[in-house]
C-alpha cells in the first residue's frame, strides 16, 4: 500500500501542474488562475470536512475509513492550493504597495484571514504533532471551519454569485445535519436506557 499515498498526491498535483504550465506557456493570465486555484482549495477543504460527520452517521465502513485516513492529506492539499492562490495573486498584483493598498477591502482581507487560519492546522498535520498535542490537536484543526466560512465570504464578496458558494456548502450542511441527527439519536438512546 506504500504506493497509494504518492499516487494520491500525484493526482492532487495535476490541477496545479496544469495551471502552472498554462502560465509558463502564456496561454493564461495570472488573473485567470485566481478563481480555479481558490476554488480547488475550497473543494479540498470540503472533501476534508465531509468524512467526519458522514462517519458519525453512517458508521466507520470501509469506504469512509479510507476517506478518513486521507483527511489530513486533503487538508494539507487545500492549504497548498491556498498558497498557490496567494502566489498567483502576488504575481498578478505585481507591486507590494498595490497589495497593501487593497488589504482593507472586505473581499480581500477575508481571504487573507482565511489563509492565516489554515496555517496552524496545516503546520501540525503530521503524526508526532498529533500524538504530542492530544486533544488540543483536534481543537486546532477546527480552525478550518472558520477558514472555510471566510473563504466562502471572500468568494461571495468578489463574485456576487451565491450559487457556486452554496453548491460547495450544501454537501457539508447535509453532512452536518446527518451528524446532528445521529447525535440526537444517540443521546435519546442513552436517556431511554
Amino acid at each position: 500500500m506504500a504506493f497509494v499515498r504518492p499516487l494520491f498526491w500525484l493526482v492532487l498535483t495535476v490541477p496545479a501542474v496544469g495551471m502552472l504550465l498554462g502560465l509558463a506557456r502564456g496561454s493564461v493570465l495570472p488573473m485567470d488562475l485566481l478563481h480555479p486555484s481558490g476554488e480547488m482549495s475550497v473543494r479540498l477543504m470540503v472533501l476534508a470536512l465531509l468524512p467526519g460527520p458522514l462517519a458519525d452517521f453512517f458508521g466507520h465502513g470501509r469506504f469512509l475509513r479510507v476517506w478518513l485516513s486521507a483527511r489530513r492529506n486533503l487538508g494539507v492539499a487545500a492549504f497548498a492550493y491556498a498558497l498557490l492562490h496567494l502566489a498567483i495573486y502576488c504575481i498578478d498584483m505585481g507591486l507590494l504597495a498595490a497589495i497593501i493598498d487593497e488589504l482593507a477591502l472586505p473581499a480581500i482581507w477575508t481571504g487573507w484571514v482565511a489563509l492565516l487560519l489554515m496555517i496552524p492546522p496545516a503546520a501540525i498535520s503530521f503524526d508526532s504533532a498529533m500524538r504530542s498535542l492530544g486533544r488540543r490537536w483536534k481543537r486546532v484543526q477546527r480552525f478550518v471551519y472558520a477558514a472555510f466560512a471566510l473563504s466562502l465570504v471572500h468568494w461571495l464578496l468578489l463574485d456576487w454569485h451565491w450559487q457556486p458558494a452554496l453548491i460547495h456548502l450544501a454537501p457539508l450542511i447535509v453532512a452536518w445535519l446527518l451528524r446532528a441527527m445521529a447525535r440526537r439519536k444517540r443521546a435519546f438512546e442513552r436517556t431511554a436506557r
Partner: protein, 108 residues
C-alpha cells in the same frame, strides 16, 4: 444536545445568510441592454477608451451583453469595468467586488 442544536442553528443561519446574500450590487449580472450583436462596435475599440482612462489593460471580453474590461488604474488598483457594446460608454466599475463608479442613470 446543546451541540446538536447549535450545529443545526449554525447550518441554517449559514444557508439563510448565503441565500439572502444575493447581490445588492452584483457585478455578475450587469445588463447593458445592448440589443443585437450586429450593431456592436468592435471590442478592440475599447483599447483607446481604456487608454484614455489612464488604465493599463489586462483583458477584454464579452460578458452577457456587455463588454468587460479588466485593468489596472494609475494607482495600481485592480478594476473590472463594464462598457456598452454599442456606445462604448463606461457604465459601471468594480474594484474587488465593490462598485466604485456607475454612469449617471444606468440601472443595469
Amino acid at each position: 444536545m446543546i451541540r446538536t442544536k447549535s450545529a443545526l442553528v449554525a447550518s441554517l443561519v449559514m444557508t439563510a445568510a448565503l441565500a439572502f446574500a444575493s447581490p445588492a450590487y452584483a457585478d455578475g449580472n450587469v445588463r447593458c441592454n445592448a440589443g443585437s450583436t450586429e450593431k456592436w462596435q468592435k471590442i478592440d475599440r475599447l483599447k483607446k477608451k481604456v487608454w484614455m482612462e489612464g488604465w493599463e489593460l489586462q483583458k477584454m471580453q464579452v460578458e452577457g451583453d456587455c463588454y468587460e474590461v479588466y485593468a489596472r488604474t494609475e494607482q495600481g488598483q485592480a478594476v473590472e469595468a463594464f462598457f456598452h457594446p454599442v456606445t462604448l460608454q463606461k457604465l459601471v466599475v468594480f474594484r474587488r467586488g465593490q462598485e466604485i463608479y456607475r454612469a449617471p442613470g444606468f440601472g443595469g
